[in-house]
């Protein structure tokens, strides 16, 4: 009995010592803090990224995503503007809410590349000379507002050197409809009997007065500079949007493909030319062209 009591007493003392030891260890060795700290460190990767620091991190990511999307949008805008192939596309792609910005170089490239005098009517090349005289013309800004199109010639700071206001009607001028398509005349819907050889037509164009020449055929330089080799000319059975016009298709070969330049030509000029070809070849081209729809379903 006595030994049991002594044992119990010793047991109590040991327990007390143990508790005192634990207390001392915690007080001097901070084993609780260390243990919990290291356990949490070990478990760190399993826990969620919560709290203000991570929130800020996420906000920074959102901000960078926004910056990136804005840059992508601007790059896209820039690239699509720089990839335009035809001067009239500058205006056709213009939506009221989406102005267009092109470099001076691109504008001039499209301006002088247009196969006809329409671009000259939008803004004369002499006016461009004046705009360029201060050596600060950098970009061209095009914006549509109601029935008006503003062409702003901007300097490096975005300040307009000159602004030109065009009526949207200008876009519908017949001259503006000169377009280029890939393919052969037949694929564009030109009838075989209305397709003529280059020599037949060019020899007649040569004899026309300069104004009519410009109305039916681009400057030869336009083909020569690009290594476009004119092969045949077709006259469409159809009129363009204006009932007084028919469509000429000038087919040319390049090293890689065949293309057709479509030109809307006043009916009387076209008939006059056709009659001359008829006189030359005796082909049956006397019948007046009927009313018309455009090849490939496109309306001019």
């Amino acid at each position: 009995m006595k030994s049991a009591g002594v044992f119990r007493q010793w047991q109590g003392v040991v327990l007390l010592c143990l508790l005192i030891g634990v207390g001392a260890l915690e007080f001097y060795g901070k084993f609780f803090e260390r243990g919990v700290g290291h356990y949490l460190k070990w478990q760190n990767h399993k826990r969620p990224q919560l709290g203000r620091i991570w929130e800020r991190d996420r906000e920074a990511l959102v901000a960078q995503a926004k910056v990136k999307s804005l840059r992508t949008g601007l790059d896209l805008q820039h690239n699509s503007a720089e990839s335009l192939q035809n001067f009239n596309e500058l205006f056709e792609q213009l939506e009221p809410a989406f102005p267009l910005l092109v470099s001076r170089k691109k504008f001039l490239e499209l301006y002088f590349d247009f196969p006809g005098p329409w671009s000259e009517r939008i803004v004369s090349s002499y006016e461009l000379l004046q705009i360029d005289s201060e050596k600060n013309w950098e970009r061209v800004f095009l914006k549509r507002f109601g029935p008006w199109i503003t062409i702003g010639f901007l300097d490096l700071q975005g300040i307009p050197i000159r602004e030109i206001f065009l009526s949207v009607d200008t876009l519908f001028e017949v001259q503006s409809t000169r377009t280029i398509k890939r393919g052969r005349l037949e694929e564009m819907g030109f009838q075989k009997e209305r397709i003529f050889s280059r020599d037949q037509v060019v020899s007649i164009v040569e004899t026309l007065d300069p104004i009519t020449q410009k109305a039916v055929f681009p400057e030869p330089r336009w083909f020569l500079e690009k290594d476009y080799h004119v092969t045949r000319i077709g006259v469409s059975d159809q009129t363009s949007r204006s009932q007084n016009h028919v469509v000429f298709g000038i087919e040319y070969n390049t090293d890689y493909y065949t293309g057709v330049l479509l030109i809307s030509v006043p009916q009387e000029v076209a008939y006059n030319m056709l009659s001359q070809i008829e006189r030359t070849d005796g082909d049956d081209l006397t019948g007046e062209p009927d009313a018309l729809t455009l090849p490939s379903g496109e309306t001019f």
Binding site: G5, R8, Q9, G12, L15, L16, L19, V22, F27, K30, E33, R34, V36, G37, H38, L40, K41, Q43, N44, H45, R47, P48, Q49, L50, G51, R52, I53, W54, R56, D57, E59, A60, V62, A63, Q64, K66, V67, L70, R71, L74, P99, L101, F141, K143, F145, T150, G152, L154, G158, I159, P160, E163, F165
Partner: protein
């Protein structure tokens, strides 16, 4: 005795077990919400700041700026001070200070709410990085657990460095480097003992102990911290006394002297609305604004100095609200907002009165009425209208009886003279003739977007507009009809300089030049010899056009005016719509309260610049006419005025009416002889 000891052991052991189980249970419960720690504490400060620039290249604001520095670059004066006051056992504990915690528990238990933190520096860092500032026990435990992990993961130096770079010191300063710069204009490594002690007192009470606003309290706290440093053995008593007697070299607060805050505040809000908060604060952007620092500073000086002069003249009032002011300066050729003052003092009131459309423009709205009459009725500045008592019937309401400012009537008077004298009756008559709808249409074409009441009293400016709208509208007049939408941001670049946004001028011809120039000339008359002639008396000699505006009971005073290059709108009034009366009982008019600010501002802006005239468009002629007949002046004219009219307008003098015998019978004089001249 023995059972008692046994009971004691049992309770002790039970408590130990209970604590262990409870602790484990709490951990299991909270572990789901415990946040992950980043790998590197130094990386937590790396979000890019957004910088805002003026058009003249000054950096006017930095958003989200953090200037983290290494612990070696922080003065020991600060480090020792912050340890002494915030966590004297910092180098001894492992995230938990038992004695501090026990003291806090005791205090909180007594108060039955959380009144004391007892947090270590590590716990404070844990709170700053991850948790809300709400005080509750759950957050406290989470904060402690993270603090323990911080201690197990990083060295004491890393923790102290992160803490010093993170904490808020008031006045917009995060981190010791920025605080040292804002309060003392120096680097954190150069802080003196007193400065270090003062800064160490700020994290605990960044507002109430802010030396800019409560220097005594800040110094008192610095004294306490110096005492703690002596107790902790960091400094000697002599060093403490030396520090107390040293000069603090406190700077003047940057915030309150920054004149750009209304402007900056507006563009931040606008960008947040358009692109999102994150984009603005974490995008690392460079925002190039239209603000001209020089103009802005001159605008603020002009506004404040005149307001102070006016306040000295004002009668005693019950309300202590100060007189307020708004000013907007718009560059005519582009629409760029070059200066904007939204109130007297941004730190007292952030409400931007330059953009708010709750104040009535009074007579400064009249130009839109006159232009509508010229456009719709073919009137010209030489058209005669009779200024007389008039009652205008309003269906469904009391008839309206407009009165002139002086309650006098001028009789027959040409439009130019009527605008120069700001005759209300003439304006009301014009409104009655054209109808409010047409006037609203005109105002919209001038760019006024605020809601406008479709009623006759609109002739006297009874619908609220903003100074920004008025400045932009008056710039249309100076631009001869071209409207440029006012804008604040030229371009935005990302951190690498890639362009994200660019403003393009898009001027739109809203009115024909031949229509708008006569109005411009009439408004030049207002400045040269009309209600704003005080401008000339104050020595402003540049060609200018404008219109004063004063509302009923002198609640609002306006002057909107333009030179060739700048359109400036100034408003003065009380926020609570009180009348502005001086000690002699006279009310403040636009000419007296607002026009001088306009003059002081533009006089400085145009200092040393040539006087530039407004261009005269083709098809305009100038004629001197009789102000009562509107016909070319002749020897019979008692008062004449030079007017600008369309070239095609015939202003030949009225033929002299021959004296004819009294008609007999039913015949009378030919009505043609007395008919209104063609231009009327």
């Amino acid at each position: 005795m023995r059972p008692l000891i046994e009971k004691f052991y049992f309770v002790l052991f039970g408590l130990f077990l209970f604590s262990a189980i409870a602790g484990f249970g709490v951990y299991l419960t909270l572990s789901k919400d415990l946040p992950q720690l980043p790998e590197n504490l130094a990386a937590i400060n790396l979000s890019l700041p957004t910088e805002i620039y003026s058009s003249d290249g000054d950096r006017i604001m930095i958003l989200g700026e953090r200037r983290p520095i290494a612990i070696e670059d922080i003065s020991p004066n600060f480090l020792n001070a912050i340890i002494s006051v915030e966590d004297s056992n910092f180098y001894d504990h492992h995230g938990l200070d038992h004695i501090g915690l026990a003291r806090a528990f005791y205090m909180n238990f007594r108060a039955k709410r959380v009144v004391q933190g007892g947090s270590t520096i590590t716990q404070q860092l844990s709170k700053n990085l991850f948790f809300s500032f709400e005080r509750n026990f759950v957050r406290k435990i989470k904060e402690l657990l993270i603090a323990l992990q911080l201690e197990a993961t990083f060295t004491k130096e890393q923790i102290l460095e992160a803490y010093s770079n993170q904490i808020y010191f008031g006045s917009g300063a995060y981190g010791v480097e920025e605080a040292a710069d804002i309060y003392f204009g120096k680097r954190a490594q150069d802080l003196t003992l007193l400065q270090g002690a003062l800064l160490a007192g700020l994290p605990n009470s960044p507002n109430s102990a802010n030396p800019f606003y409560n220097l005594d309290r800040a110094l008192g706290r610095a004294g306490f911290i110096l005492k703690r440093m002596v107790q902790e053995g960091y400094i000697t008593e002599d060093q403490k006394e030396e520090a107390r007697l040293s000069s603090l070299e406190l700077l003047t607060p940057k915030q309150s002297s920054n004149p750009n805050l209304y402007f900056v505040d507006y563009i931040i809000r606008k960008l947040e609305k358009d692109y999102g908060k994150e984009f603005v604060h974490f995008g690392g952007l460079k925002i190039y604004t239209t603000l001209d620092s020089r103009q802005q500073s001159l605008a603020k000086k002009a506004a404040i100095s005149h307001l102070e002069a006016l306040e000295a003249e004002m009668s005693e009032r019950e309300s202590k609200e100060p007189l307020q002011v708004a000013l907007v300066s718009v560059e005519n050729k582009s629409g760029a907002v070059r200066a904007m003052v939204g109130g007297k003092n941004y730190s007292h009131s952030q409400f931007n009165r330059a953009l708010s459309n709750n104040r009535l423009p009074g007579s400064s709205f009249k130009p839109f009425v006159y232009l509508t009459a010229m456009s719709e009725l073919g009137y010209s500045p030489a058209t005669v209208v009779r200024d007389e008592p008039v009652v205008i019937d309003i269906p469904g309401a009391e008839p309206w009886e407009p009165k002139n400012f002086g309650e006098e009537f001028a009789g027959d008077v040409i439009l130019k003279k009527a605008l120069m004298k700001s005759l209300n009756v003439v304006s009301a008559k014009l409104m009655q003739l054209v109808g409010p709808k047409k006037v609203i249409e005109t105002a919209r074409r001038f760019g006024i977007q605020s809601p406008l009441g479709e009623n006759y009293s609109l002739a006297l400016g009874t619908s609220g507009v903003s100074p920004l709208e008025m400045a932009a509208a008056y710039s249309v007049i100076a631009n001869l009809g071209i409207y440029n939408e006012p804008y604040f941001i030229e371009k935005i670049e990302d951190f690498h300089g890639n362009q994200l946004y660019e403003h393009y001028y898009q001027g739109i011809q809203r009115f024909p030049q031949k229509l708008i120039y006569p109005l411009l000339d009439m408004m030049k008359g207002v400045v040269d010899a009309g209600t704003a002639r005080g401008i000339r008396r104050m020595g402003f000699h540049h060609p200018a056009a404008g219109k004063t505006g004063t509302t009923n009971d002198f609640k609002d005073a306006w002057f909107n005016g333009t030179t060739k290059d700048n359109a400036v709108s100034v408003w003065v009034g009380y926020d609570n719509n009180e009348s502005m009366m001086d000690k002699r009982g006279r009310g403040l008019t636009g000419g007296r309260a607002a026009a001088p600010i306009w003059v002081f501002f533009l006089q400085k802006v145009l200092e040393g610049k040539n006087k530039v005239k407004f261009p005269v468009p083709a098809g305009i002629k100038f004629e001197t006419v009789d102000v009562t007949t509107g016909r070319l002046a002749d020897e019979r004219s008692l008062e004449t005025l030079r007017v600008a009219v369309k070239e095609e307008l015939d202003l030949s003098p009225l033929p002299v009416i021959p004296e004819v015998p009294e008609p007999e019978g039913e015949f009378s004089a030919s009505p043609d002889l007395f008919s209104i001249p063609e231009n009327q």
